[in-house]
């Protein structure tokens, strides 16, 4: 038990706590190491531990019935995962896996509850963290419900197609996301959707438009 105090106090959950409170909280925090590819949290299992990434990268993902993986969040050092199910008495909403060798700090659900009861600042910090999560999710819902992201990605692809000669435009997913005001992850999802619809094919770093008519239709371009 107990981890490096400096890494603990840099976490949003424990910011603003005095040294003595941090020492008390620290008794409940443990370190866990994992190798690349190791599953850290399984979707559907009872949520037992809140994790903070100290080193390395973790992906939070869901796998569809046909085996396709959809990454929801990338967790870098200083960020946490499994927050919502821990606080909601639920099951893990998604799986989490180490994308590299990782060092995590963890705190068990019952210990987090005890700490937040004893130290109201922790409870306030939890509210702030959850508020940020809600903001992220509202933004995602907006993408899903109001914006036809695939259509806008399709439009970008049509507008930036190389003509076979000279300098061909090259765009990153991040640039496309910025152009249409969405998250990078939504662009990747749109690529898969456009592939499934037979409009494009992706070969390494080339997006090949295989059916312009389908792509135009998805983009809402008529004529």
């Amino acid at each position: 038990m107990a981890v490096n105090l400096d890494s603990l106090k840099s976490l949003p959950y424990f910011s603003g706590l005095s040294e003595s409170v941090l020492l008390s909280v620290n008794q409940h925090v443990f370190e866990k190491k994992a190798e690349r590819g190791e599953i850290l949290v399984f979707e559907g299992e009872p949520a037992e531990t809140l994790y903070f990434v100290v080193a390395g990268v973790v992906k939070v993902f869901k796998t569809s019935a046909d085996g396709k993986e959809q990454i929801y969040r990338i967790i870098r050092p200083g960020d946490s995962f499994n927050d919502v199910p821990i606080l909601a008495d639920g099951v893990n909403l998604a799986s989490a896996a180490a994308m590299s060798a990782v060092v995590l700090n963890g705190i068990k659900k019952k210990d987090l509850e005890a700490v937040s009861r004893e130290y109201p600042q922790v409870a306030l910090n939890i509210i702030k963290v959850l508020s940020l999560r809600v903001e992220e999710l509202v933004s995602l819902v907006e993408d899903f419900s109001f914006r036809r992201v695939s259509g806008r990605v399709a439009k970008i692809l049509l507008e930036h197609t190389g003509n076979g000669g000279g300098e061909r435009p090259r765009l990153t997913q991040q640039e496309m996301a910025a152009m249409i005001g969405t998250a990078r992850e939504m662009v990747g999802r749109s690529f898969r959707s456009l592939e499934e619809e037979g409009a494009i094919r992706i070969e390494r770093n080339r997006i090949i438009i295989v059916n312009q008519e389908i792509l135009k239709k998805i983009a809402g371009i008529t004529g």
């Binding site: 870098r76 076979g164 090259r170 990153t172 990078r184 997006i207």
Partner: protein, 70 residues
């Protein structure tokens, strides 16, 4: 030789996250800087671009129309 991810050295903070997640060994830390090595098995997974907290890695796509051969 194939295209490889592009590092913006001005933005790179040398945190090494990209190196730690790269499965093909294309990214290495050398002399406290991230270097890109030409490797054959880089599948353009773009995970390095995704994990970089500073937007220092680019994995751009070329967009082309398929040409049909008659």
């Amino acid at each position: 030789m194939g295209d490889m991810p592009i590092i913006d050295e001005a933005k790179c903070q040398r945190c090494g996250l990209c190196v730690s997640i790269c499965v093909c060994g294309a990214l290495v830390m050398e002399d406290n800087a991230v270097k890109v090595i030409q490797v054959e098995n880089c599948g353009w997974c773009t995970m390095c671009e995704l994990v970089c907290p500073n937007g220092a890695i680019s994995c751009p796509f070329e967009i082309v129309v398929e040409t049909t051969r008659d």
